[in-house]
Subunit: 461 residues, 2 copies
């Protein structure tokens, strides 16, 4: 009899907890959809400030603006964490054309890849050899590559439902294409934009020369997908055409910048820290609304939603807007270094860096016990059509926090439209839908709420 | 022992069926994403033809164009089914302003509701009374309404995750507002656009005078959400302002039109008919890309995908592009009448009429046994992030086919952006994403494939 009472009491407690979770989550979604502030903040970040490349004036303006926003939220503490960032500048607009016969030219849209060296001052003109990704270089060999421009034209695979998988399948030609092609004596590289659709926007993004000596570094640019199709077709008709491009980007000395941080102190376990964040820097071609203005305003909105719904966190919840994800990850690395130095205990970190589209769920980088705890919360998310709970990656900026005792997570929005805009001039505010952005913020807040309420499962190590 | 063998055999058969279903569905998605034709067809329908209001030249062009497309698919039969449709024309552009003092005016964007009468030739100017939906009329009574324009300003509820629920919550003020307000002596009605966002597009849509005598019918127009906010704010400052609007829309005699139909004859059960469709007519303000050009091209794509993947249906699969969903439903009614007359046996019908956005699942109007069969297929859809299988409505055009022996279904795409465009001038091609459209077509085809393979569960009646 006493046992039965105990079981009933336990069930009743669980039911009450379930109901209070349901209520709190409903309150979070309602507040986000009725009074959401993120869209307005993003409007300012995108339309009043614009693209925020590390070391730029705009990046500094974004630091100041988001600190102001955080100051207005009534958090327990807001501060700037110094970060030394690389500074690469694009210079004057790039220019390129195909020359099928002397004087017969077709202009094509290109943009320098982030980190690339310039072409010679007057531009670079050479014959072109097309390869289907880095793996195509070896078969051609030095004989067919030397003195030429290598055209990496491996397209993103349209058959993956998760478009990030297709991105991973060919991002290496952008990141390492120049370093690899230089080994065969190439004089420059042109890379098909990482975009699943045919259009006229070239997509930039980080590249690295690895250990290529400075004097052997060759310029690298992205060409729009329509441009890539034109170049490929023209090469099939006449392999002897010339390609010309000119860019005068360069690397300047490292610059001073900041991560922007705000926190609500935990009432019960103030030393257990939970991070939610995105990256404040962006590429320079568009205004970085999806990548990653969206993630920044959603992360600030998480703390606002907790306060607006009257929730008092038991653990310390910290929003971190990381600087320099795109070309260096210095913000993420610095944050983790400082945390280690101070002996801070991070138990959970969530990043939103996949666009401000309708949220579908999360992916988790954690042990099985913690993942099982998350799966137990699935039904709480069902009314909001959040259905995707996978093990996998989390986010670049929170990656350096990884250890055996932390749960890392990444918001997973619908990915179909992301690469239409990623790193291109059309990553702009009008392509973000207010409700989709707000649903993402509410979904993140709900997960933060649950981890705050139930904590993480201690590591068995 | 013999029993064990039988069980093993059964399990092996089921496993093989499961594998062949997985393979066929994978083939369908790959074909849709690599060689999809729907986006190109929609480009023509939207950009070469445009808005397709029933009885218009464009509606007739759309009939001819989609018949041509079907003719090119190598179907077993393609035909036009005559449908008599109502013909309402908008006339010259509508015009409206608020007049806070004589001569002090603010123009606001409006559009006539479909089916409305015109204002007097010189326009209509009157005082305004604001109500929060039809339910607000009674409290005001004839005394406060007579001689005035009723301004229905009930907004869509932003807290519903499914935006169609919010639409249902206030569509009555658009559909019946004029008939109801006329009972209290109103001289005209202005209705807040059914849009969750604040912008400058007025959204049209069907309205009905019910049994209001012709001489008592009053003109009805929609005002953009920004216009509605302005009007409401101004009324709070000064309840005595005038509102002026002018529209010269009218009803012409019924016109001849068609449903466009194509079919693949079933190899084993040719008399079991499965329908997939959308509606070919649209409103006239935009080009009807989401509503419902998307559903039309997806439905044609279903038959193309079946053929392209080498699948030979056991049952007859028919694509039906219905005419006149928006202001009459004559196509849907005619189709069902003709089917009944010919004694055709329809076992399944699927409609896509909720936009060309990322598909999330289906809703079903059927008995529990058939719904259970569908739930058994859920895991086949998981790799494609299709997770929503609800009981509920299906589609307006296939509704007239309803009986105890048919399964009705509606595609359920992500609904967040739908009402930004619905019935407005910005329902245009550039707001449709190619991959999202293609994923919808593949999802529909996969469901059709499963129903063709396994049939429906016979009614227990």
């Amino acid at each position: 009899m006493r046992y039965l009472l105990l079981v009933l009491l336990l069930l009743a407690t669980q039911l009450k907890a379930q109901q209070s979770d349901e209520t709190q989550i409903k309150n979070i979604y309602n507040e986000a959809l009725v009074n959401g502030k993120g869209y307005g903040w993003l409007n300012y970040l995108s339309n009043q400030i614009g693209g925020r490349l590390s070391g730029s004036v705009q990046a500094q303006q974004a630091v100041e603006y988001t600190k102001e926003v955080m100051d207005s939220l009534g958090l327990d503490r807001v501060w700037l964490q110094p970060v030394k960032v690389p500074k690469w500048v694009r210079g004057t607009p790039e220019f390129a054309y195909l020359e099928s016969n002397p004087g017969i030219t077709n202009n094509v849209p290109i943009c320098a890849l982030g980190g690339s060296v310039a072409t010679p001052f007057g531009g670079l003109k050479a014959k072109v050899v097309e390869v289907n990704g880095i793996e195509g270089l070896e078969a051609l060999g030095r004989e067919k590559i030397e003195g030429k421009i290598v055209f990496f034209n491996k397209p993103m695979d349209p058959t993956n439902i998760n478009t990030f998988q297709s991105y991973k399948g060919c991002a290496d030609q952008r990141y390492s294409g120049a370093a690899e092609a230089a080994k065969y004596g190439a004089v420059g590289v042109i890379v098909r934009s990482l975009n699943l659709r045919l259009d006229d926007y070239p997509h930039t993004g980080a590249m690295s020369y690895g250990d290529t000596p400075v004097e052997e570094r060759i310029p690298a640019a992205a060409i729009s997908t329509n441009g890539a199709e034109l170049l490929s077709t023209t090469l099939k008709l006449n392999p002897n055409i010339n390609f010309f491009f000119r860019q005068n980007c360069k690397v300047l000395p490292d610059a001073d910048s900041f991560n922007v941080i705000g926190e609500i102190k935990g009432s019960t376990y103030p030393n257990e820290i939970m991070v939610v964040g995105g990256h404040l820097d962006s590429w320079d071609l568009g205004d970085g609304s999806h990548d990653d203005g969206a993630g920044c305003v959603q992360s600030m909105e998480v703390l606002r939603l907790l306060k607006a719904t009257g929730y008092k966190p038991k653990r310390t919840i910290r929003v971190v807007l990381f600087m320099n994800e795109e070309n260096g990850l210095r913000g993420g690395v610095t944050y983790a270094e400082q945390a280690a130095k101070k002996g801070e205990r991070h138990i959970f970190a969530l990043e939103s860096d996949a666009g401000g589209f309708t949220p579908r769920g999360f992916s988790f980088d954690c042990d099985q016990a913690n993942f099982n705890q998350v799966l137990g919360w699935k039904s709480l998310f069902e009314p909001y059509l959040i259905h995707l709970f996978n093990k996998g990656g989390s986010g670049a900026d929170i990656g350096p926090l990884k250890n055996d005792n932390i749960v890392l997570a990444g918001l997973r929005p619908d990915s179909q439209r992301y690469f239409d805009h990623h790193h291109a001039a059309n990553d702009t505010f009008e392509h973000v839908n207010k409700r989709e952005l707000e649903l993402g913020a509410a979904t993140m807040t709900s997960l933060i709420y649950l981890f705050d309420t139930y904590g993480v499962v201690p590591s068995s190590n």
